[in-house]
Symmetry: D3
Subunit: 190 residues, 6 copies
């Protein structure tokens, strides 16, 4: 639909890529119907690509403790603070699907304080936003407050670690002007 580049940095052809990376990308393409641009934009650095998706999957492809929708809420809210177009648009689509809610992604991206969140979701998002914008200020008292609200150590770690991972991811996307695929914008809107 448009002719904009998907990255400021080199984007290799699929055929040039190492076997394991090409296989992973083809699997995503099969499942989604298109290749999300993050896979192509990171492929020029195979070792970093492998580490990135290993880290991503370790945090995002599970649903014990935090649900998958809750994990995506963290991504959308903190990526919006970092003004990361790729992550807000792409994970916004995934969040709409995971949460079965066509409004929640835009709400979180624009003003998390006005989003339709449960009390638990609000605590998750608030803690994530503090981790995103001023992690140095998180004290033992903040941790204790999260425990008092019923969060386990593993859940608290997940909130912080997902925020930390996307602090990296947002910067890589902003560095490369990584462009969200047009498909993401309209996905799961109704």
């Amino acid at each position: 639909m448009t002719d904009y580049p998907i990255s400021r940095f080199p984007v290799p052809e699929l055929s040039e890529l190492p076997e394991d990376i090409r296989t992973r990308i083809e699997a995503v393409q099969e499942k989604s119907g298109f290749v999300p641009n993050v896979f192509l934009a990171l492929a020029h650095r195979p070792d970093e690509f492998r580490a990135f998706f290993a880290g991503h999957d370790a945090l995002m492809d599970k649903s014990d403790g935090l649900s998958k929708a809750e994990r995506e809420m963290i991504v959308v809210a903190t990526s919006a603070v970092n003004q990361c177009s790729y992550c807000v648009v792409a994970h916004g689509a995934i969040l709409r699907i995971r949460a079965k809610n066509p409004l929640i992604a835009d709400q979180l991206a624009i003003n998390p304080g006005k989003a339709d969140l449960s009390e638990r979701e609000r605590h998750i998002v608030d803690f994530a936003l503090t981790m995103a914008t001023d992690s140095a200020s998180v004290t033992d008292a903040d941790m204790d407050a999260m425990s008092d609200r019923g969060f386990t150590d593993d859940e608290i770690w997940d909130i912080g670690a997902i925020t930390a991972f996307f602090a990296m991811s947002n910067r890589l996307a902003n560095l490369s002007s990584m462009r969200p695929n047009d498909e993401f914008y309209a996905m799961a809107r109704t």
Copy 2:
């Protein structure tokens, strides 16, 4: 020397760890004479540990383009902005060793604008600081300016990607109140 915990989160015994992780830690201990606390503080999450160090090594264990000292300068300057005690102290020590300069780490941590940097080093540090604090503002014009100063695309990516990696790392350290080993403070001071 002190009895402070090294992390707010569980720290497993070496003997409990998966073989590959234990081996890696023992190798570091052999080389450094002690185990830097980051290895112990991340070990409770083996998959995340593996992804973290794979990402770290892909960016920090090489010296083509940016030298190892330049890479550590990025870490110290951007970690100081994020007020990450672990990264400033531990990588400050490594930077003093790499740069053979006992003053440069403190200078970068306190006020990078007053540090004894070459013009090239100053451009590296300035670009890294922008990536750390406002990556969304990096425009094509900023990229072109870096090219005009003689930086290759690979070098620009490295500056951005190291900053991005430590944006994650700083948040994990702040989340866990990861404590720098006492050994790092006095290392390579003369």
Copy 3:
């Protein structure tokens, strides 16, 4: 679809409203198929309602100088800075229609610096953002720079005055937790 209130403040019944206000609202409903919530949320103060829409129409219902799409770009970009859910969602929909571009509203709301803008549109949005966030800093030099780029005094006034009007509008919407109609989110997405 949801049961959330559209405002923290009283929302009168259409039948209770003064004739001129009821007529205006019914006209909008006829045209759009629904009543945008801003009309209902401001109706409890008839004099303020009349002044508000008189001001709105004076700035937004014309297309000499700035096009209608350009006017909506100013609204979406500056309302995003003010984290105004109502204005970003509702005017985002209008912008998609006016610009015949399903991507532009989200791009502007998330990171205007990465949006697909012409050079003229970029100057408009940049000037509007400065007016939104630090109007005190706008100097004669900034005005002259806009003139040099080909903007007339009337266009510069319009950019500033639309930004000023939505500085008010965003605060009223945030004050009242004005809720965007669900219809806006999915409008003109393809």
Copy 4:
């Protein structure tokens, strides 16, 4: 006394203005002894002029709930945050008159936290300052706190709406470098 222009934008002659606008300005002149520059600086846009003063009068020319002095306190404190010379100087004079207090305007403009305010006035000013600088953060809890302190819904709306109106007004004045009349500075000083 000085020869500085009162606006960066065109200032029409009184004789060129539409009848209703000229009449309004002449009435003010009769009452005050001079024409406050805001009337002249907005007159080049008659429709916007009419909407502006309709909105202004709806909020400022009444004294049920908030007193007129309290309304002016909101204007001075929030206009100081926006560094709006016109509004601080002109409404500072009006506030000194309304409050019969020659010190209060400067106190509020310089540091509202040190101004001689009653407890009720402090709550009004604090809520207004939050609305001026971070309206997105105002939550239901903030609203409830205001109710608990004895403010009615109408009073809370007035504080927010006056702040919102002057968020617009401050930007128009900053846009046009609207110059306060020299008369305002010394008015009601003793």
Copy 5:
């Protein structure tokens, strides 16, 4: 006229003070017709009092290089940034006298960018504001720019040193809630 305390800390009686301090205060009282509260508010610490006024006089009681009016402009503009009621009100009065200009103090306190300044005065105020708010960012290039504009090293030092002195003074006044004498507000208004 009011009964507000002039300091949160102890204010000694004149008769309790060491001879040299009492003499100094009586001299000021003779000259001004009243005792500016700063003399009383600092008197509880005689050694600090002596050092404070020695530093003050070394910077403010001379007119080679910077004129006395220019020195007071620095005080008013930087004290406004620090929201120091005492310094803005008291030195505002002195500035009106020194500059023979009844408008300049309020203009500088509200928005220095809109004040009626000569080009030289603007450079002085801009450099002072940077020193006040972000002295760490002042580079050799900034110093060279000041030299190019015709400022001597002694003048640059004076701008910086006056700003530095009032960074201290503003904090002492804010610490003690030092109250400006009512007399200052209306002084030299016409």
Copy 6:
């Protein structure tokens, strides 16, 4: 070890200095084994030099109420916020000596919230940081809170006054690019 200038401004020879200043500098040299650069960098202005050190000694050379180590903690933490290389490095060394703790200075400079502080020390540092960054916001309630924690009025004044003094000192050091002596970096590290 290096050839960097110690100040952007003139540095007089010892032999050119007034007797009292030369005597003071020689005494420091005798005691410390070297002349801290602050003495040389301020010497070009003898009256300001005398007032500066009179103020310094009145606040720092005593140990009633606040201990000498506590006073140095205030200096290091607030100078780090102001990114003052000279003060953090030089007073960091003094703090390590006074507190007999080789870690505390770096901890306070990087992230005071993670430093190994007693509860009393934490209150001191927190109050000092507020005074350094936003003194205008300190209210009677903050003062009362300090009293409730057991601090006397004299201790509260000392915390505020030391912070104020170094707000000045940091700006002078940043203005002059005052260079810390190399000796300070490695002092008292073990």
